[in-house]
Amino acid sequence: MPNKEDIALMSHLMRRAGFGATRDEVERLAEQGYEETVEQLINPTAPPVDEFLLWRYHPITEVPGGAADPGQANWLYQMVNTERPLEEKLALFWHHVFATGNAKVDNCNHLLEQIQIFRDIGMGNYRNLLVEIAKNPAMIFWLDNNENHRNAPNENWGRELLELFSLGVGNYTEKDVFECSRAFTGWTIGAKMPRFPYGRFPWTFEYRPEDHDFTEKTFLGHTGNFNGEDIIDIVVQQPACSKFIARHLYNFFVADEPQVPAWNIEEPRDPEAVETLRETFVSSGLEIKPVLRTMFNSDFFKESTYQKVKSPVEVVVGTLGLTGDLAGPDPRLEGMGKEPGYMGQAILDPPSVEGWHTGKEWINSGSLVKRVNFVADRVSNTELPGVKSIIKRVAESNGSAMTAEALVDQCLDLMGPIEMGEHTRRELLSHAESEGSISWATEEDYARSSRRVGDMLALIAATREYQFG
């Protein structure tokens, strides 16, 4: 049997490298071993989510359209039901970085296509990923590269490629932005067909040499007749680039950093850790997988439990997983896709190309009410399979009777395990004590005690500590 520390560590890994796991699964994985599990996450062999099932029960989540909600439901379904959790979590990571929004793109199916790129090659070579994203129709439209012409360059994509997708502010000049933009002239989407009367036509990438600026460019100290891929080759060789991506990975998977726009002013909280990731990234030839392996096996990762404020997506998907709510097709799916948005993270519709501000900025009094209620609604529902299984474990942990303290400890263990500050723990304990000792002896006792477990889980969900993951 894995010991307590193994369980805690495996839970941590699964929260960060996925969206959490049930205790049964954590025990199985801990038994199998930590490094082995990291390998499995990085090289998943389980089949991808069966999209035909989605087609069948939720056809609206698969058809072209302008509204964001069906696409959000589609992605939520994949996050909840995936057996390749790191692949899905990494797709969310890249969505944070390459934040593309339906508010402008207005073609949610094309956003899903972009997310699929993240799934397919997000763990592979970063240079290739940049090239694919540069050719992605949703991105081209989002950052106006279809308006970037030989005779009239538009700098939107060129600037964000450098500022937000690779180097960070302060690592290029305005001239570099202009030259970079010129190199991407002619990278556009195929003729946009009018939507009416036949509906939406898919966008495709199109390179138009006649609209490409073939004159010489000087970019980051290099001079030549550069096209877009040449620019990307130069960009990824910059030390600023590897540091930027390493810091992004650290911020998303390890611990909350300051907001991205401050990165050229504020140093990382753990410069050594970021440097370790950066070195792996560079020495592997810009492969993501080795960086993930180094990261998850590092001490700084293992010591980072509860150092990050959970994102709304992590709250929603994690809670659905923990409680076994909404597994598989479900009439409520299409509404559920909007839940992260109610808490401030509308997936496929970030507020801008800068993506979301993370960490403590996820929380304000409005979003906190939504977060607490979303989790409490479910963990206090003693009919949900995941909650039933928690109750069963609590009931079996200590014979037929248990102290208030044991109840609190069991609940904290099964909700994480998560450690509470002394102050919070005292409140949880007083609450449990005010209701006396717990018995599981008779059927009536069991029902009453189940209720108490549900309420205790809800109270734990309401704590400050539980906002971290």
Binding site: G66, A103, V309, V369
Partner: protein, 382 residues
């Protein structure tokens, strides 16, 4: 900010007509041949139009609003929009919400207003959204807005059914979020935020207790939402901005019945709301503003109308200088852009009037510039 006596601070109620309201069939140019020519299937016969003057009238479902107009308490602002309408719901709504037609904006215009009204976030319910989630207009970093799907069930830990148990748990919540020194800035921030959330919920919870009214609202969702607005407003809790919405006005098909029903519900709910406020002597410091993300195509499609450009806005309240503002866009085929009415009043100018003249804020940094602002708010003493 004082909330007592006769100097109550101004309150704004925004009602969003989601989906693109058909301007052409809302304010109808009933003497214009172009109207009848381009609306073979959806024209309202002249004798059914609720005539407001020699040229224009309202949709027959809007009788209560006709009364408002005739009593001088409603401004109709023509041709509102912005150049190069993308005719996309999402993009257009975004533009209206952020005042950024050319780039993707990150901050809502009302969120910026809230920041000016309550810079220290002293009142967690300075702004209240009645509905699910938060419209982008109310979103900005550091700005808290209460979002209430249903006032009667709003609060924390609402799934705990037994009331006494829930009360006990909320007491624990308050204790847990209370000052915990030495736990770091993020935990301290969370502590304060949790207490704010609880305070907001506690304040809002009191509203229904103090509310009593002889007005019986209809059963439509917008009637329920406006009743919640009235309940919170009359409780005098310091809320300055209310936001709610109704729809969908996206009438591509079967517009005749849908559009009539939508305006019946909206008009009746608005009338009930104002009757309620009047009865409780709480109407003098309120202005209501209605907008939609765009108007619809001039020519109907046989059953409905497709996405268009220029739309119409309404401002209602005792302090509104009733009447017409801006001009009805030209309806001649040659004057249309891609078959749509061309906006001649920038929406940011309309916002500017609300912000400058009503909310007494500096509109320029909120709407990102200076725009021609129709003067539909009564000047002091008028």
């Amino acid at each position: 900010m004082t909330t007592n006596g006769n100097s109550k601070p101004p309150v704004l109620v925004v009602l969003q007509l989601t989906g693109g309201n058909d301007y052409f069939n809302t304010v109808i140019p009933y003497t214009d041949g172009n109207y009848y020519d381009s609306r073979p299937s959806l024209q309202i016969p002249q004798d059914r139009v609720l005539k407001l003057n020699d040229e224009l009238g309202l949709h027959p479902a809007m009788a209560p609003l006709k009364d408002k107009f005739e009593q001088g308490g409603m401004a109709i602002i023509h041709g509102v929009g912005y150049a190069n309408s993308p005719r996309s719901h999402f993009r257009s709504m975004d533009i209206w919400h952020t005042c950024e037609p050319d780039t993707v904006g990150t901050e809502g215009w009302l969120a910026r207003a809230i920041r000016d009204i309550d810079p220290e976030s002293e009142n967690p319910i300075t702004a209240v959204n009645i509905g699910q989630g938060l419209p982008r207009a109310l979103v900005a970093r550091g700005v808290s807005v209460a979002s209430v799907a249903d006032l009667s069930t709003y609060g924390l830990l609402t799934s705990i059914e037994e009331e006494a148990q829930r009360t006990r748990m909320l007491e624990r919540f308050a204790n847990m979020y209370g000052p915990a020194l030495g736990t770091g800035p993020v935990m301290e921030y969370l502590g304060q935020t949790g207490l704010d959330a609880l305070k907001g919920a506690d304040i809002l919870k009191t509203a229904p207790d103090t509310y009593s009214s002889s007005v019986e609202y209809g059963a439509s969702p917008i009637a329920r939402s406006l009743r919640d607005v009235a309940t919170i407003h009359t409780a005098d809790l310091g809320t300055r901005i209310f936001y709610t919405q109704h729809g969908s006005f996206d009438t591509h098909a079967a517009q005749a019945t849908t559009h009539a029903q939508l305006w019946t519900d909206v008009s009746e709910a608005i009338t009930d709301f104002w009757d309620d406020l009047r009865e409780q002597d709480a109407d003098e410091n309120v202005v209501m503003f209605l907008f939609s993300e765009f108007g619809r195509r001039v020519r109907d499609n046989g059953s409905g109308t497709d996405h268009g450009a220029a739309g119409v806005c309404f401002a209602i309240g005792p302090k509104v200088k009733g009447g017409w503002y801006s001009e009805y866009p030209e309806t001649r085929a040659e004057a249309l852009e891609q078959g749509d009415l061309v906006p001649n009043q920038d929406f940011r100018g309309v916002y500017s009037t609300i912000l400058n003249d009503w909310m007494k804020l500096d509109a320029k940094p909120i709407v990102n510039g200076q725009f021609e602002a129709p003067q539909f708010i009564k000047t002091n003493g008028a």
